[in-house]
Subunit: 186 residues, 2 copies
DNA sequence: GAACTGCGTTCGTCAAGGCGAACGATCGGT
DNA sequence: ACCGATCGTTCGCCTTGACGAACGCAGTTC
């Protein structure tokens, strides 16, 4: 800990410069907007120092960029998941089998699930971890899905997103239905 | 800056406790694994202090959790995008029309695009911002998509993800094809 | 060419973070 | 009941981040 750990600050250094130049503002201007000393910002962009979270937070706000963008550069590998061939790493998702894929090599923050429902079939999912977000895309058939109190009617190609932290449902309305579910979870 | 700024550290305090308890390890154990003093961790979970990035980074690694999960709790609203009804906020995506939705109220880090291709139609996309990640789900037809040097063959329900930072293609192989594209960008 | 504005860097000071040690509390085992 | 282990918190010390001021540079303006 003490001494090495260049990984985090390198990332920050790069991201900081990138977003500032992208916003088209000077170092001085950003420092002024964020309420951070020019000297501090200068050092950060030079890759020196271990900035406090509040400092970074202020910079993220001033840059109008999500905090995570300053500290995490997504560098995914190209991947393909075939319909019906998703690996069964985690066997159960709220009571029914589903395939899973982590798109990030380390961290495993995203799952891809296939959902296949028979005509009229209804599946209830209990709340997941707080902060879980679900993205659903209907491939074929028609579906009623979302939070139990207000599920949405969806057809092929329709997309919906909702919080996974509340009870939610997946139901085939007319005939067999398939969909892809992307789960971001904490 | 100096004095207030409880927003960030509150989030961190909660997230830290949450993930540690979820991992089922003690405060002492986590401190040992992360190479962080128990006292430091104790204070952080109490919501005191403005932790350095390296400290948080080490904790994230020890918890096997993406850094951003410690500092950002996604709280999305439920949304639905109908096939063919995606709002045309941004008219062009690499040269062709596409619908767009930001799932996060502030930050706008994710776009949803619909892609409709005629039989055999090929669309090339120039590289986007570094750090851009694309998620593609084929709804109907068949598609060849991915980085230009190694596009993947996809059928209905197939999923692929690849970096948007390199040139990539979307091509309908046999007959008209539709797909949904989720773009995360920096 | 002198004065001026804005840029990014460097320097010295001060407050705050991170550390180890010691502490009381809570269990389990003999 | 005693002892040991582990838990999470609190206490001084030292390191380090963040600050403001001053610096050197470049491009304008008069």
């Amino acid at each position: 800990m003490r001494g090495s750990e260049t990984e985090a600050i390198e990332t920050i250094s790069i991201a900081l410069r990138h977003h500032r130049e992208r916003a088209g503002i000077s170092l001085s201007e950003l420092a002024k907007r964020a309420g951070v000393a020019k000297s501090t910002l200068s050092q950060l962009e030079s890759g020196e120092g271990n900035p406090g979270v509040e400092t970074l937070w202020a910079l993220a706000v001033a840059l109008n960029v999500p905090f995570s963008r300053l500290v995490e550069l997504p560098t995914p590998h190209t991947r393909v998941i075939r319909a019906g061939q998703a690996p069964r790493i985690r066997a159960e998702h709220s009571g029914f089998a589903a395939g899973l894929l982590s798109s990030c090599p380390a961290g495993a923050s995203r799952d891809i699930h296939e959902i296949a429902l028979d005509a009229g079939e209804l599946r209830r999912a209990e709340p997941h971890q707080p902060g879980t977000v679900e993205h659903l895309i209907v491939v074929s058939g028609s579906m009623r899905s979302g939070p139990v109190e207000e599920p949405a009617e969806l057809g092929p190609g329709d997309y919906t997103t909702f919080s996974g932290a509340v009870p939610h449902v997946y139901q085939a309305v007319n005939g067999p239905t398939t969909a892809v579910l992307i789960m971001e979870h904490s």
